[in-house]
């Protein structure tokens, strides 16, 4: 007895023939499949890396902002980004905010560029120290905040705690920048703008988009390091009362502070992102790279699918002669495209994970769950679009050609 019926007993309901035919056609020509997969893998890796860098950049640009609890930000006019502080606010913003209806609380935030002078540590045996005990300088971005109201800043603390920043001249630094700042452990010293500071809090993984190290301090030390007057700040953070309308409060506060810009958190976040990602061209470049990868993927897949379809044209003509509907033919080709997409995606993502793992020390890279699933959808869509030319070729085929062979 034929195994056709035997297969039923063993495997239950057989695979629909359109799917089986697609699968067999795909794996029949290994070279063609390899070329298709190389194209898809190339696209997936390129898109995944570009998008991961884009998302990583996004994360780094707004990571500190996102750890600050504020509904409204009062910023100097013309501020382009959170980490690009310009002038200090005049100094009456906090009081103005507190007297605005709907405001629950307000406090100041210092963000300032500063000169970090490395000092030879007592344990330093590597010879960076000069006779004067100085090891050169580098630029840093100081973030001075009210430790009582900003409980999430800094985060991912591995040594010390937020309260330690209230100690005299205490700073928090990230272990990523140990080498650059000549810091090795809690208690190591340095100078910021000629003020001696001591590392009291160590974090892990807080990195800036601009590559300048963030230095976290309590607000008073931040003011000292930025040469600000006691009432001055880079930004004023406003939290609205429960039930109050953020936009109403923002408008009201803006009316009271005509010399400053009053922005919602989301607006300032978007402005910061837009500045770095689009005004500087960094993000546009990444997006262009990803779009290019999609185009390359579509072209490669459509070329190979078209070639594969042409190779099987006689079979498609036979199918048409046997009465296959155009829907059935479309299904076969689309299944081929989807199968290629899934195999290419899996291989591409494995390679992408390896690439991003090795690049993560050098570049801002973040592979999110949404990106992983989004890429699957994009890869399948890319391959389906690529199948269109092959479908048109087959749908137009004259089934009468089966008699001429």
């Amino acid at each position: 007895m034929s195994s056709a019926s035997g297969n039923t007993a063993q495997l239950g309901k057989p695979m629909p023939m359109a799917r089986k035919l697609a699968y067999r056609n795909l794996f029949h020509d290994r070279v063609s499949l390899l070329v298709t997969l190389v194209g898809i893998v190339f696209s997936v890796v390129l898109i995944a890396v570009q998008c991961s860098i884009y998302l990583g950049s996004e994360y780094r640009i707004v990571a500190v902002m996102d750890h600050i609890e504020a509904d409204i930000w009062v910023v100097p006019v013309g501020t382009k980004s959170f980490d690009l502080p310009t002038l200090l606010l005049p100094g009456r913003e906090k009081q103005a905010a507190l007297s605005t209806p709907g405001v629950q609380s307000a406090d100041d935030l210092i963000v300032t560029f500063a000169n970090w002078r490395r000092l030879a540590q007592s344990s330093d045996k590597k010879g960076c120290a000069t006779e004067s005990g100085l090891c050169g300088a580098t630029s840093v971005l100081v973030v001075g905040f009210d430790t009582a109201t900003n409980k999430n800043l800094p985060w991912d603390i591995v040594e010390g705690n937020i309260a330690d920043l209230n100690l005299p001249n205490a700073v928090g630094i990230d272990s990523t920048y140990f080498g650059e700042l000549a810091i090795e452990r809690i208690g190591d010293r340095a100078e910021i703008n000629d003020t001696q500071v001591t590392a009291k809090v160590i974090t892990r993984g807080i990195r800036s988009f601009t590559t300048l190290p963030f230095i976290f301090t309590a607000l008073p030390l931040g003011r000292t390091l930025s040469f600000a007057a006691p009432e001055q700040a880079s930004y004023t953070l406003v939290r609205v009362a429960p039930g109050a309308n953020v936009e109403e409060v923002r408008k009201s506060l803006q009316a009271r502070l005509p010399d400053a810009e009053v922005l919602t958190h989301d607006a300032f976040r978007k402005r910061s992102l837009d500045y770095w990602l689009f005004e500087t061209g960094a993000g546009s470049g990444l997006i262009a790279g990803a779009v290019l990868a999609i185009i390359v993927g579509i072209v490669v897949v459509s070329q190979t699918l078209y070639a594969s379809t042409k190779e099987h044209l006689n079979e498609f003509a036979t199918l048409r002669a046997l009465g296959a509907s155009s829907g059935f033919i479309r299904k076969v080709i689309l299944w081929q495209a989807v199968l290629s997409a899934i195999i290419g995606y899996v291989l591409g993502m494995i390679l992408s994970r390896i690439v991003t793992y090795y690049l993560s020390d050098m570049l801002p890279i973040q592979m999110t769950f949404n990106l992983i699933w989004g890429l699957l959808v994009l890869t399948v869509a890319m391959c389906v679009v690529a199948a269109v030319s092959a479908i048109f070729k087959v749908i137009r085929i004259d089934p009468a050609v089966v008699f001429s062979r």
């Binding site: 007895m1 034929s2 019926s5 023939m17 035919l21 009465g323 509907s325 008699f403 062979r405």
Partner: protein, 243 residues
């Protein structure tokens, strides 16, 4: 009681090409396929056999005339409508077999069943039955590349039988086969033609096939020039006489 023809073509005219290159390939052809009969369509190259076969198989539409398969009229149908009609009512056997090389013999038959809307769970058993009918149960898992020409043609016949279409159209089914396999294939088609719900038309040049025919139609220059009907059919053939 007179039997109803299973396929009826009336005054079929077909123009091929256009403008100065236009050719009248069929010039008012009428024919009938009767159930339980094997009809041979013979004629020289260029006589219009293949064009007529394409029209009878709902692959081409006639420029003039009507075609009826069972209760269905093919005239005026769209390409999808024609595809539906041939899917449901017409089985094809091609000169070059036209099996799908990436599918096994059983899967080739199951493909035709799938196209005809057979329930997937029933398809393997029906495919096995069709292959058994052509004596190829033992080759069900073989790919076409591993089959001989005669076996390929028998798989093609099994495929044409799958789903029990009322009309089977065979285009030079013995042309690519040696004498022995050619006879075996014709004998098989003649056996299949005994089914009272089915009519078979075989287009052929091969005079060795004459003995298997119930009817013979000769076509020349796009016109039917002769019709003959055999008195009785035997396995090794008997003479035909002019109608």
């Amino acid at each position: 009681m007179a039997q109803e023809p299973i396929l009826e073509a009336t005054n079929i005219v077909k123009f091929l090409g256009s403008g100065a290159a236009e050719v009248k390939a069929l010039k008012g052809v009428s024919l009938e396929l009767m159930p339980g009969e094997l009809t041979l369509l013979m004629g020289p190259s260029g006589s219009g056999k293949t064009t007529l076969l394409s029209i009878l198989g709902c692959i081409l539409t006639p420029s003039e005339g009507t075609l009826r398969i069972g209760p269905h009229t093919a005239t005026g149908l769209t390409s999808e409508g024609l595809a539906n009609l041939r899917r449901q009512h017409v089985g094809f056997v091609f000169q070059s077999y036209n099996l799908v090389p990436t599918l096994t013999a059983a899967e080739n038959v199951m493909l035709a069943l799938d196209l005809r809307g057979t329930d997937l769970s029933e398809a393997p058993a029906l495919a096995a039955k069709a292959l058994k009918a052509v004596g190829l149960s033992h080759r069900a898992d073989a790919y076409p590349s591993k089959l001989s020409g005669g076996e390929k043609q028998r798989v093609a016949i099994a495929r044409s039988l799958a789903g029990s279409p009322s009309v089977i159209l065979a285009d030079e089914p013995t042309a690519a086969l040696d004498s022995e396999n050619g006879k075996a294939v014709m004998a098989l088609l003649a056996e299949v033609a005994k089914d009272k719900g089915r009519g078979i038309l075989v287009v052929t040049h091969d005079h060795r096939t004459l003995s298997y025919a119930d009817r013979l139609i000769r076509i020349e220059d796009g016109k039917i020039v002769g019709r003959a009907r055999r008195r009785a059919r035997s396995g090794n053939g008997a003479g035909a006489h002019a109608a």
